[in-house]
Subunit: 375 residues, 3 copies
């Protein structure tokens, strides 16, 4: 079907839709739905088509319901904030505010990495994902706003992937992910939302007692305040409650406790890397030294190992540690909980061991090469 | 169904097909279709089955239509060139000749990397993809020649992937790729052909003002001749024309201009890497020096940084730059245009910063270690 | 449908199933199927649902048929060994014993890498895959035991992936994998089982003349005993017999012989890496030296290059070789046979060349930095 024919069909379809949706046709500032559609079904046919197939269209939720009026849409660059969605979906909004997604943008803005780069680079990556704090269409993508799509692991994978948080990769290489991919049946194997947003709860921190930014071991709440041991245990029980749909309680508990151990072992390896570097610093052999380099945007002139360590302008030995901590340690322990042997080991544990070899040899070289010079 | 039973069924099916296709049954040098089929449906049942299900089979296009005769097929190793396909599909052939696919093999043959390796290695990788210049079945795979399959991102991904041109990976990790994967609906999100071969145009260079081999910033045509600023702008407008199916013109323009900025920032970082290495060369500290090593197949005894730099037999510091330029810079800017935050940042920008740390420290070490020796 | 409603439906379904399956209802030690189901369809509804949809359920194979009795299930952690499955599937079990899957756990237990790590780490990765020796549900996952799922490349990919054996990645980036992904039609393109378990044979070593652990070139049997040249040729013919379903015999033979050459070229590069390191060792420049480090769990105080080399506690130059041999060499040659240009080259050959540059420069640095000191 050619585009012109398609547009004609859409016009017919949308006319009937508008008739079905007539009670809501009149919108903010007296603008008729037809006002938007008369241009947009021709100028942005893809956008229009997605909306036409949405539950919104069927229920009479149209452009102006969310975008207020044409001028506001233009000035705000058409953004619609969660509070607007919450007018019709209040329960989901309240739950959303309890989870970590709701602080994504704020947390990004105080990160040293973010502060250290030009704005156009920030727009091209940091903000594309962290904007989840300010928009529901990160998961329920425009203008279809599909619940089915938002529940698919692909929706989560759009942000939860890559070197420093390969949740997508870990899940896809676990038996859970394998079976789900094969069967597309959420009763046969869990997908992300099964464990982290069970029964559609919009608090995505369900069942997880999260550590603070970095690698300290206490668990914290949304404001980074440590939570009680009882609360941690309650959250573990929440998670086990999900596992037991398919596994025995004993098995589930054992697996999660094994992951706790894997995490601890990973952190031990990481500490050995830190020790080597601290010793080198004490001997004045870091190049450039902390005093010689640009101060850290939030930590100033101190040696920062692990969060919020930067990937810019440090010494080679610190950069080796950055890779160890930021990419490999996280794979060891997060894959432990996501049951991906390939990511725990091949992309995690063995890489950490290789990192340690490199850090130790670099420390040794620095001693030989630069000790004389620095005297 | 057992194979023997299947072959029997195929025989019945193909007999009826041959009857339907009877006007074309007699082919080149008087050979009957049945001549091929009598052996090949038994000896190569998979090949036969693909053909039987093709539009070609339904239209009476059979073995000899394309392969001329049995002897020619054997001697030419059965290859069928685009000119042959163009006899029935002339418009597609003319368009194909306008795009970069049509110079893929020629360009490969003058590349230093290609010249530097044994023939069996060339066959096993370079030629598998670059042969697209000489065969339509790179995308329309044999012997089904499906249009539907050729339009799928998977068909493009067969070559456009991997460390130095991860188009597949960038697309799959963009919101475009995510939504297409979820919905399989090209009206909901673009796939490769939506932007690069819109409406089935076989010039795959649509909408792109391509830079020359390497990283210089002017745009060039198929013969590497610089094109005018107006032509570049015309091509940008072509692309925006695609974006506005779903996005506002302002948004589309802003996004592409932001990508332009990201590209520029990436190139700036790369230049800093080059500077470090050029200084080391001036000081005579490259090991092996350019004079000591095998001359570059096309550039001779000069320091080559960025295209056509080789990955063989250079110094360690140049190899660090090779990775920076060939793998990481390309991810920054190409992902900028493909809207993959993960590839622009996690696999690109942050890796470039880590590369710079390594290059600078290596430069420093070379100065300390080898200055004395070289005196 | 809410969970409570679903459970009710399952109860009705399972009641009817149990009636259909009545002749087998009474099981080991006189326990009725209902005994398990009365609890488990409520406590582990996902597990129950998978079983209910299985062929086992339809044929009256229930919990106790495999798990013997409730106490045994608890004590054995519910494991069911291949011998149990073989009671009903004897042919598959006999074939399974002929392939390498059947020695996976034994071989793992004598590996240096396995011996060098804590038990919880072993459980989290090594044993998850290598346990295939002891359980059929690695491929036919619980409790659906689907033949269709086990034949999908995804089932194999659950273990055959990652840095040191990226079979999944190589297949997916080959034209074979691309077409299968697009069409989901095993008559159009092969999947793993097409070549390695043709016609459902459970000997997964079909058609492959495997080298011993490491990189020596002779082919061996399951007990690592070298096999005759004739046997090797017979196995090559087995494989060509598969290829000719779609390709000419000449083409198939040529492609496999080209892969033989690619393998040889890859091994040659690797030998150059070994030579550099052996020379450094002779000169006493390895840090830590073999004498200073913890002895290798199976090889003692010798320099181990290639299998069974460890990734722990060696020198940096050996670690560079570890990556070259374990990750990159294997990609060159295995991708040669799996026809993935991206993995043979981008993730293999070019990485090996970069490794060689790094090894040579490191050797040079060690000579300069440590020669004086070691005197």
């Amino acid at each position: 079907m050619k585009y012109s024919a398609k547009i004609l069909l859409l016009f017919v379809l949308s006319s009937s839709l508008m008739m079905c949706a007539s009670p809501s046709r009149k919108a903010g500032e007296g603008i008729d739905v037809g006002f938007c559609i008369s241009c947009h079904q021709e100028r942005t046919p893809g956008l229009f088509q997605s909306w036409v197939e949405s539950k919104h269209a069927k229920k009479g939720v149209h452009c102006i319901t969310c975008h207020i009026d044409h001028q506001a849409a233009t000035e705000q660059k058409a953004m619609v904030f969660p509070e607007k969605c919450g007018e019709c979906h209040p329960e989901q909004l309240t739950q959303f505010w309890k989870g970590r997604h709701s602080i994504g943008f704020d947390r990004m803005q105080i990160q040293g990495e973010y502060l250290a780069i030009p704005q156009e680079i920030r727009s091209a990556f940091c903000e594309r994902c962290h904007s989840i704090q300010n928009k529901c269409n990160s998961c329920h993508t425009s203008h279809r706003f599909s619940v089915k799509e938002a529940r698919d692991p692909g929706a989560c994978a759009n942000c939860h992937l890559g070197p420093d948080h390969p949740h997508k990769e870990m899940y896809e290489t676990s038996l859970h992910g394998t079976i789900y991919k094969l069967t597309q049946n959420p009763d046969r194997a869990p997908r992300c939302v099964t464990c982290h947003m069970p029964n559609g709860v919009h608090n995505s921190s369900f069942g997880i007692a999260r550590g603070p930014a970095g690698t300290r071991s206490e668990a914290v709440d949304l404001k980074e305040v440590p939570i009680s041991k009882e609360e941690v245990e309650r959250k573990r029980e929440e998670m086990i409650g999900i596992c037991t749909k398919c596994h025995s309680r004993r098995f589930a508990k054992e697996q999660l406790e094994n992951a706790d151990q894997v995490k601890e072992e990973g952190f031990k390896l990481m500490e050995r890397g830190k020790e080597s570097i601290r010793e080198i610093e004490k001997q004045g052999l870091l190049y450039p030294s902390v005093a010689e380099r640009r101060p850290h945007p939030t930590e100033g002139r101190t040696l920062v190992l692990a969060d919020p360590q930067l990937y810019v302008g440090t010494s080679h030995i610190e950069r080796l540690f950055f890779t160890m901590f930021k990419f490999h340690t996280i794979r060891v322990w997060k894959s432990g909980y996501h049951f991906s042997p390939s990511y725990t080991h091949g992309h995690g544990w063995s890489e950490m061991q290789l990192d340690l070899i490199d850090i130790n040899e670099e420390a040794n070289k620095l001693k030989e090469i630069f000790r004389e010079m620095k005297k």
